[in-house]
Subunit: 199 residues, 3 copies
Amino acid sequence: MASNLIASATVLSFLLLLMGVSAATPTGAPTSHHHHHNRRHRSPCKTLAFYFHDILYNGHNSKNATAAIVAAPAWAANTTTLSNRDHFGNVVVFDDPITIDNNLRSTPVGRAQGFYLYDRKDVFTAWLGFSFVFNSTEHKGSINFAGADPLMNKTRDISVIGGTGDFFMTRGVATLTTDALEGDVYFRLHADIRLYECW
Amino acid sequence: MASNLIASATVLSFLLLLMGVSAATPTGAPTSHHHHHNRRHRSPCKTLAFYFHDILYNGHNSKNATAAIVAAPAWAANTTTLSNRDHFGNVVVFDDPITIDNNLRSTPVGRAQGFYLYDRKDVFTAWLGFSFVFNSTEHKGSINFAGADPLMNKTRDISVIGGTGDFFMTRGVATLTTDALEGDVYFRLHADIRLYECW
Amino acid sequence: MASNLIASATVLSFLLLLMGVSAATPTGAPTSHHHHHNRRHRSPCKTLAFYFHDILYNGHNSKNATAAIVAAPAWAANTTTLSNRDHFGNVVVFDDPITIDNNLRSTPVGRAQGFYLYDRKDVFTAWLGFSFVFNSTEHKGSINFAGADPLMNKTRDISVIGGTGDFFMTRGVATLTTDALEGDVYFRLHADIRLYECW
């Protein structure tokens, strides 16, 4: 009988192993699959990288401008020029072309649409809410972003908070880098997108 | 002994089956429950559908208006009328009644609160950040949304980025349809909400 | 043989128990780990609590102000004072110090950066999009928030929609409480953050 029990236990362990049952939680309590699994795995399920190009309206470039100041604090002179105190309070709406390479004149593969606002008086810092909108043979759907952009840092991370179409329900992190900056009129950001939840 | 082992294995398999142990990962390696599971399953855990009604302040309807332009680009004449160039840069804050049917005069079951902004110069396109706020016997809590709304499309998808109360921690997708549009003053959207993460 | 089967089954059950196999799904069908698990478990994987302090620019406090009105509806007199009708349509950009205790003069441990907007005409209600940004030995990274803030309620919940750095990919809920309110110039919020997805 004893040997049978041992044999049974051995078979059982072996079978469980074979079946890949992950007997992970020593307490026996049902636990979060999220947490256990995710703490260990930070390899993205999908990565994408793009540039997007922001040309701010300054009163003289209405044809080329892809962005416009739409709000400003009381101390700003107007909404044609960025306010002083590091543009604190300026809100900018944008519809920027997305390109694969860093050339503004390359054929756009999508649009970056939404807003950013400057939110610090002593250093340039922004907060972003926007989407990458794709409608090509390559990608259809949108990736939605939100987060703080301390733009004087070489790189900064924002959140991918959701997606639709090809990016249905996705979540992840995007690392932004300022690839070019020309005064108050033009900047180009590189977005290195790493998606960790793919459906 | 051999027959005992076989019997044990049979019992084991049967029990595992009974207990519904999902022996899903052939490698035995810890894997992403998210990805594995989710790629296969796109059936929502909860669906909801509502209408919401937006009456834009135009200088003459302060009693009925549920929304107001609060920001505009430099080229706009004022914030009482939507700007030209497809309203690019106009930001609108709203507190719209939510109804079950498409009748503006039906008793609201909640409020849609937040903002939208127009973000394209050559076609009407918006970006939305808002919540459905419920406080009834039916639903208590909020559903939070963000995403691009290319509103000339018959349907367009935005993200459900979170929720509270009855909608604690939810995520999903909402399909918006313009159900009515009356000039620049009134529109009614249908929101078909499909939640894929329910806690 | 019969006794061996029973013994095997007993051993099996015991072992499964020991190994903490969660035999959760009676149908045996692949199901949502999210849903099953999560409906039962609402214990956070991490909790944090902070105060943040908002001093609104009023034309006379440019040195101390941490926030400024940047947008207003057409009926507002200006952007130096909050508009009537419960500030409906006012958009405020902020960069508020975060402290551990409720003392405005305590050393900040981070910054709360983003915007809020007032979105109801008959009661004070706001909508928030912002980040907690940390760069200390204690915490590095950001927590991103969005949601409705019916600020006359004693407590109200908003969503944690993502995070970066130490808060990589996090999600959760934050309960806001107004800890102090001094006219239109100063308020202090307590944020009780409960994260339910930790990576």
